[in-house]
């Protein structure tokens, strides 16, 4: 009999029930909240959740630090925009963007010749090179950017639900991967890829798998983001901001966990929205937060909760039980 492991082993954990509860609340929010601003912030949050979860897949579980995920985001964003301008329904563009990003990731397998920190630079260069390419490509508007055919009636609700479903899908995917043998293989690669290779793990195949899944969801998130914009340009879409948000949120929440990135996303977004009146300091807030978290708690906030708070809670509960 299998005692631990398996997909539904942690159904007894309160975290899963909390997650289902919050999901239900998230689906009901647009019925009660009519403020477009709050819905927009939540929509952005869900996009960040997609990015944090999927950066976490390659950076947290598989341990390959990527600094160039803006490339996949940008591919999704530009594909959606071009399809929309060409007259196709944007949903088609979003799906195609995800598939294109995943296809692009498949062709990146030579980058996994680069180990550790060289992989980080390689991906950083990749996003920069793609940005430079798009800034010179006349077909996609080059440096002037693209104006999208935005209709007059433009409600936030459909986008809210789109982003929410995407966030949910990526979280569930991450959870299933984390619970399966593939997740275990990713962890083995992140601990020591030479050792993993020596016991017969095809490390390049698994690294590419992690990259392809995360690139697919990044492409979709780019599509959902681009669909709500009236104007996109390669400077901002392929810029440093979209390359680091997922990364920073995953690290602050706790890499290598499923709950951590979600926690990090909401925490960072709330903090930066509170500080928004001081000016455009979102990146400053993120970067200072990430320095503090890496310096004092390398396992992130969820790591602190599971390692420090939960055992104390358990002992407290056990102590407060009446003796039989």
């Amino acid at each position: 009999m299998k005692v631990s492991g398996g997909l539904f082993s942690s159904l007894r954990s309160p975290v899963v029930y909390l997650f289902i509860l919050f999901t239900a609340i998230a689906f009901l929010i647009p019925i009660f909240v009519r403020t477009p601003y709050i819905l927009f912030i939540l929509y952005l949050c869900y996009i960040y959740v997609v990015q944090a979860e999927n950066w976490n897949l390659i950076g947290g579980f598989a341990g390959q630090i990527s600094l160039g995920h803006a490339a996949f985001f940008g591919i999704g964003c530009y594909t959606t925009a071009m399809m929309w301008i060409a007259g196709y329904p944007p949903i088609l563009g979003i799906v195609l963007g995800g598939l294109l990003a995943a296809g692009f990731a498949v062709f990146l397998f030579p980058t996994f010749r680069l180990r550790g920190t060289y992989f980080a630079i390689g991906t950083l260069f990749l996003a920069a090179a793609l940005q430079g390419f798009l800034l010179n490509w006349k077909f996609v508007g080059a440096g002037e950017g693209l104006y999208l055919p935005v209709p007059k009636e433009f409600l936030i609700e459909p986008f809210y639900y789109m982003a929410l479903v995407l966030a949910l899908a990526s979280t569930v995917t991450c959870y299933m991967i984390a619970k399966s043998g593939v997740g275990l293989t990713f962890k083995a690669i992140s601990e020591d890829d030479f050792a993993a290779a020596s016991i017969g793990v095809g490390i390049t195949r698994y690294k590419v798998l992690a990259l392809v899944i995360s690139a697919f969801f990044f492409g979709l998130s780019g599509g959902v983001y681009g669909h709500y914009q009236a104007f996109i340009d390669a400077y901002s879409i392929f810029g440093i901001y979209w390359g680091v948000t997922g990364l920073f949120m995953a690290i602050i929440g706790g890499t290598g966990t499923v709950v951590g990135p979600i926690l990090g996303t909401f925490l960072l977004t709330i903090i930066s929205e509170y500080l928004a009146k001081l000016g455009e300091i979102r990146l400053l807030v993120y970067s200072v937060a990430v320095i503090i978290v890496i310096r004092f708690a390398p396992e992130g906030i969820w790591g602190i909760i599971t390692k420090k708070v939960r055992p104390r809670l358990k002992t407290y509960i056990e102590k407060s039980k009446p003796l039989k």
Partner: protein, 324 residues
Amino acid sequence: MKSRISLPKSITSRLKLAVSIIVIAAICLSFYYYLGLRGELGNLPPILVSGILVGGLYGLVAVGVSIILGVMRVINLCHGELLVLGGFFTFWAVNFGLDPFLAMPIAFIILFVLGLALQSFIINPLLKYGLNPPVLVTFGVALAFQNIMLLLWTPDVRIIHTAISDINLQISGISIPMTRVVALLIALVLAYLTRLFLVKTFFGKALRAISQNSEVALLMGIDTSRVNIFCYGLGAGLAAVAGSLIGIVFSFSPVIGGPYMHKAFAVVVLGGMGNVIGAVVGGIILGVSETFASWLLGGGYTNAVAYLIFILVLIIKPTGIFAK
């Protein structure tokens, strides 16, 4: 016995060297012939000269990155921002009434101290967690510095004016700005001093020992954390001088750090990490190929050269072209 083993090795290495020299010569000759057909041979010397002059600066930026990478195996992603910060300090000292070439040592000392602080408080305690946390924390520091500089000092482009800024040298019809020559000289002298420091002094010996194997160096009684701190300070100080020279020769703003850092990484990969002479030669190779590319293809593709060199070197010879 020794000669029997080493003889084939030296023969193959000489063969490789000969083949590569022949290939490079063939490329140069065909290029020369092509230019002769186009009747543009007169453009060759100025391009070569300006490439070499720019390349010296790239080399100086790369020397700092190379030392830090060689000793700690940590890619210093905030090197570009340290460079800009050094440029700012020199800029203010010049506004204060100081000569720019006297202000540079001051910028060097300030950034040296800042580097010591960064390394001892933020990066050093993280080295025990593996390679990813220190790299990510330098990335956080980079974004924090960049955003602080943007907030405090606006994204305006600044130029450091010197007494020799308006002087042009005329050598056989080629007009060379005096500042570039002086900058190249300063860069070469500093690189040479760094090399002397690494080769001649006891501290430099310890530094090289750590770069070969930090654990064994620790066992031999070298205080690796102290050497790391000093080494990071040295790298930051060199970045400050390089930033000041960039401010004198070109211009600087808080956002230029990234591209210079990218170029420095390409140079380091080209020259091999921890190799000062390799960094300078690699910088000059990058400078010359960049000016050639911008002349042949137009200005939009200058940055692509660095990415191309990075990818090619990592695929063909990942240890750098000057590795033994």
